[in-house]
Structure formats: structure tokens, C-alpha cells
Amino acid sequence: MTSTSQPWVEKYRPRNINDVAHQEEVVRTLEKALETANMPHMLFYGPPGTGKTTCALAICRQLYGPELIKSRVLELNASDERGISVVRNKIKGFASTAVGQGAPGYPSPPYKILILDEADSMTNDAQSALRRTMETYSKVTRFFILCNYISRIIEPIASRCAKFRFKPLGHEVMGDRLKFIATAEGLTLGEGCYEACSTHSGGDMRKAITLLQSAARLFGTATITGKEITAVAGAVDEDQVAQVVALCKTNQVDGANRIIESILKDGFPGLQIITQFAERVVDDEGVSDAVKGKICARIAEADKALVDGADESLQLMAIVSTACVAMKA
């Protein structure tokens, strides 16, 4: 891809472990491990967008250099592959090709590295199969397992790996990185931009950078403000949501539904609407806890219903009705 459209997430991904923001303990331990170049299997866990893939790739680069990395490193996304056998075959295929010569100037240890992303979405059976494969090929292949929750990785795998916890990123850290990228790309972060990025990304650096890039591409302005970020994030105008809540309080179900319909027609996804609605209700000091409980319960049901593929407008109507009834009492 030419440089104009290369995702900034890739373009500005730290190449060295030392450059990875905010994960000092992890980095320290990794650097020690790199000295010996005899590494165990690794398990990186933590919220999305905190640097797990970056660290894994940075280690690989430091071990093998840019040329050798292509043949020595395989990145697999665990949720891609359907079925244990596919996982097995791909890994077998990778691990069984002989390890060639090392690259000059790099440690090039005599093993390959398999990076397995989103490992916690693998079923337990698939993980058991993976464990057997890990055992079989551990001499020639090291496994880097990346996941969100360590409790979802079965014990036999977790017990064979050195574990590294990636902490969620704080606001200042994200802000610094965004400023760095903006400057490099010739952009200025305008009013509210940084707050908007932080809110809509939920602490996920990858999301924040993608938002910035999308806003820059779509609007083409040299200054990005919070407005552009919110537009690209696909968030509904808060005033509209506030209006809906206010109408629910006075049982004006038709008015509330009209606004919801209009928001849906504007193309906003149902999940976005129910999330903003829920946050608004929870934030509202004038609503009692019991009422909040009833409304949030219905919204949680709608969450699942939407995941199942139910119709968005009917679920939203039901939420509006629940809110009307609850807030009236």
C-alpha cells in the first residue's frame, strides 16, 4: 500500500519494545528475556489496543530482523479458523518447514514464532488441540498467545507460558501518542478532539488512531475537532438522545418513537443508540435507582436480541415503552 493510505495504526506502530507506551513492567521483563534469546512461550493478556500485538511483533523484529521475520514468524488470528483441524494443519505446516540460516546482526535463535491472536475466542476443545500441538513442536516453535482475559485460556496452555499483563492505557498516554501522530501527519488537534478520541475509543489506542485517520481522510481539514471525530465514530447527537429521555419521562411515547425512527433512518446502528440511551439514563440524577434498574435490564435484553439479529426499531420501541412505564411510576 502506498504511504497515503497505509493505516496509521501500522505506520506508527512502535518498532522497538522500548517505544511501547505505558507498559513498563512488561517491557523490562521482555528485554531481560531477549538477552538470553531462549524464550519460553508467552501469554500476553489485557484489554484491546494496549500493545499486545505491537510487543509481539517488536520482539520478533528484534530477534530476526526485517528480512528473516517473513519466514520465521506466522501470525494467526484464532477466531478466523473454523475447526481444530484447520488450526492444527496450518501450525503443523508452518512448524515443520526447516529452520534456515540466521540473519547477520540479529540473534536469530533456532526456532520460529507463532503469534496466535484473540486466543480467548477459541473453544476449549480447540485450545486442547492447540496444547497438544504446542507440546509436539515446542522445540522448533515458540507460541505467543494474545488474549483479553487470561481466565478464558485453559490451564495447560497458560501454565506453559510466561504471562504478561497489559494494563489499560491512561488518558495522558493516549493524548501524547495522538499528538505525535498528528504532528507527523501535519494535522492539528483542535477543540474537543482529544476528549472525543478518548471517549469513543474506550481506552483502545488502535481505535483512537483509526478514528483520527478516518476523520482526517473524510473531512480533509488540517485541524480535527471533536465534531469530526464524533461524526466518524458514528455517535448519535447527544441532544437527540436527551430529547428521547425527556419525552419518556412524560410518557410521550409517540414523540419519543418518532425521534428514534429518525435516528435510525439517519443510519445509526441500534447498538449505538441503546448504549447512549443507557448511559444517559444512568447519569440522570433525577431518576431513582429502581427505575434505572428496570430500564437497564430491558436494554441488556435488547443487547442480546440485537446480537441475535432481531429488528432494531422494535427493540428500541420496547425500550422506550419500558422507560415510559418505569419513569411514570
Binding site: S5, N77, R217, L218, G267, A310, M317, A318, T322, C324
Partner: protein, 355 residues
């Protein structure tokens, strides 16, 4: 040629009434250089396909409109099985357009194979460099999860040879992983005023006299769906010209039918009536009206005549049964259950209010 197709803008510059802002942004995006993957999302009749085709035109010029329709077959080997997949594609020298979810469960093979094919035959662009082709995929939200994962991987691998333009209605059904690799473009349905303006524009181009009241009513009935608006406008034209200000705007057959069902339910709440309603539902289903649309419309029609308290009850039942209908295998059962529940609630209400 239908007005819907005749007055569809072909270039981004022609979009002066609807989606003007988006069109300008996209134009600048294309001109700035390398276009990223795009994801157009929004309700039907808002202009997603129109925008996508206009973007193609902006990138490749008029040659992209010479489109060839062909039915392609791919023979693939997956392990020991041989799979044969057939799909209709529309392609020019620069792009391929298709609807992969039509293939059903084998959609992921199609997506992967088509992109690989495209990568093999890259065109030479104006600067003499190896350019890229565009793959336009419709109804991406109906793709299976596996197909979307495959799409994600192929997007990364072949991105220098192939750009993707994805179109979908419900963006939440598109995987996060795919969404984050595209530039999302939300295409909002035009406002009622904009639709009205569109009606007047088309009327002018067709050299028709359009009474403003009729235009307003057409815009209102279209429910912000341009396609629907132009279709009903043409239907009005066929029905009666010169237009009369109070000329009726025809509803679709099935919508009128559902209104009738709603009236019948409100009229009588007995098992006999329920049986009749069932017959009507079958009629609609046999004519391929999607059950979700039936329930939605039915709820709307019922709500017109109900007190606020009943609206809440109706909404609750409708959401419940539609959700279950979605998960179940026989829609009619759930539709009937909804009507039965509604009748029970309504009857109780009538008795308690009027004795």
C-alpha cells in the same frame, strides 16, 4: 427506463440535492490520492449504491460504466471436497460488483477466489503504474462470519491490488475487524424536505406540473426513502395526469393489506378472527413479504388507534415475538402468537374500560 434509474446521479458532481456533503468529501478523498477501503452504511433508498458507483466513476472515469453481466462458476477444492459455486457478477475493466451473500453458506469461498483473481490481473493506471481494481460488495451484513473473517484477511493481503467498497444496511452486523479496516461512511436517509425538493426536480426534468401539496404528500409517504418516492411518483403519473393536489398516493399492495389486517384485529378479538388473520398472514408470506416487515407495519397500524398504555404492551409483545421469530424456524407461529397476545390484551382493556 424507470425514473428511479433515469435520474440517478452518475457522478459525485451531479449530487446537488441529496448527499451533497458526502459527495464532496468523497470527491476530495479520491483526488487526494490512494483511496482506502470504503464502507457505506444506512437504510434503504438513501443513496449508498449511487454514491458507490459515483466514486467508481470518479476514480476510473466513464469506462467503468461499460458493464458486463456474467454468471461465473468457481470450482474449488477444500481438503478432499470439491465445491462448486455459482454467482452472477457485473464487471467492467476496472471493477467487479457482486452480491456474495446470495450464495448462502459458501460465500467465503467466493469472496476469497474473486479477490485472488483480481489480484492476478491488475490494470495499468494513467501513470503507467500497476493500478488497482475495485470490488464492490453488496449486502455485506448478510455475509456469514467466516466470510467476513476471510474478507478481513484478504483485505490485508491484497490491498495493493484490490480495493473494496462495501455496502450494508445494518453496520452492526459487520464484524468490527472488517469495519476497522474501512473508512466508514454513514449515508443518512434524506430529510422529508429534501425528498420533496427531489420530487419537484424530477417533475421539472420530466416537464410535468406538480402541485406542491402532492409533492409534500409523496415525500411524507416515502418515509425518507428516495427509491420508494420516485416509484410512487411514477405510479401517480401513470394513474392520473394532470396531477391533482388531492390525488391519492398509492400504498404498496401489501401495506394496504396489512392495514386491513390491523383493522380486522381491532374490530373483533375471537379465535375465529385469529384464524382469518392467519390466513392473511399466509397470503403475505407466500408473496414473499418478509415477516419482520409484516410485524413492523402491523404494529405501526395498530398503534395509530391505541391508547398510550396499550402501545407499551404492544411494543413489549412485538419485540419479544419478533426476536423469537428471528431465532425460530417458522415465522407464522410467532406472528400468530403476537396477534393472539395482542387480542387478549386489547379485549381485557375493552372490557375494563367499557364493561
Amino acid at each position: 427506463m424507470l425514473w428511479v434509474d433515469k435520474y440517478r446521479p452518475h457522478t459525485l458532481d451531479q449530487m446537488t440535492t441529496v448527499n451533497t456533503d458526502i459527495a464532496q468529501h468523497l470527491k476530495r478523498l479520491v483526488q487526494d490520492g490512494d483511496c482506502p477501503h470504503l464502507l457505506f452504511y444506512g437504510v434503504g433508498g438513501a443513496g449508498k449504491k449511487t454514491l458507490a458507483l459515483a466514486v467508481l466513476r470518479e476514480i476510473f472515469g466513464a469506462a467503468v460504466e461499460k458493464v458486463k453481466v456474467e454468471g461465473k462458476t468457481w470450482k474449488l477444492e477444500q481438503g478432499e471436497r470439491k465445491i462448486e459455486v455459482e454467482l452472477t457478477t457485473m464487471s467492467s475493466n476496472y471493477h467487479v460488483e457482486m452480491n456474495p451473500s446470495d450464495v448462502g453458506t459458501k460465500d467465503r469461498y467466493v469472496v476469497q477466489e474473486v479477490i485472488k483473481d483480481m489480484a492476478k490481473s491488475r490494470p495499468i493506471d494513467a501513470a503507467g503504474q500497476q493500478g488497482y481494481k475495485v470490488l464492490l460488495l453488496n449486502e455485506v451484513d448478510r455475509l456469514s462470519k467466516e466470510a467476513q473473517h476471510g474478507l478481513r484477511r484478504t483485505m490485508e493481503k491484497y490491498s495493493s491490488a484490490c480495493r473494496l467498497i462495501l455496502i450494508c444496511t445494518s453496520v452492526s452486523k459487520v464484524l468490527d475487524a472488517v469495519r476497522s479496516r474501512c473508512l466508514p461512511v454513514r449515508v443518512a436517509a434524506p430529510s422529508v424536505e429534501t425528498v420533496e425538493k427531489l420530487v419537484m426536480d424530477v417533475a421539472q426534468k420530466e416537464k410535468l406540473v406538480m402541485p406542491p401539496e402532492l409533492a409534500a404528500r409523496l415525500a411524507l409517504h416515502s418515509e425518507r426513502n428516495m427509491r420508494r418516492c420516485l416509484l410512487s411518483m411514477e405510479a401517480c403519473r401513470v394513474q392520473q395526469y394532470p396531477f391533482k393536489a388531492d390525488q391519492p398516493v398509492q400504498l404498496c399492495d401489501w401495506e394496504a393489506y396489512v392495514t386491513q389486517i390491523a383493522n380486522e384485529i381491532l374490530q373483533e378479538q375471537t379465535p375465529k378472527r385469529l384464524l382469518q388473520v392467519r390466513g392473511r398472514f399466509y397470503e403475505l408470506i407466500v408473496n414473499c413479504i418478509p415477516p419482520e416487515l409484516i410485524i413492523k407495519r402491523l404494529v405501526r397500524e395498530l398503534n395509530r388507534k391505541l391508547d398510550v398504555e396499550l402501545k407499551h404492551e404492544t411494543a413489549r409483545h412485538a419485540a419479544y415475538f419478533e426476536h423469537r421469530m428471528n431465532e425460530g424456524s417458522k415465522a407464522i407461529i410467532h406472528m400468530e402468537a403476537f396477534v393472539a397476545n395482542f387480542m387478549a390484551v386489547y379485549k381485557k382493556y375493552l372490557i375494563s374500560s367499557f364493561g
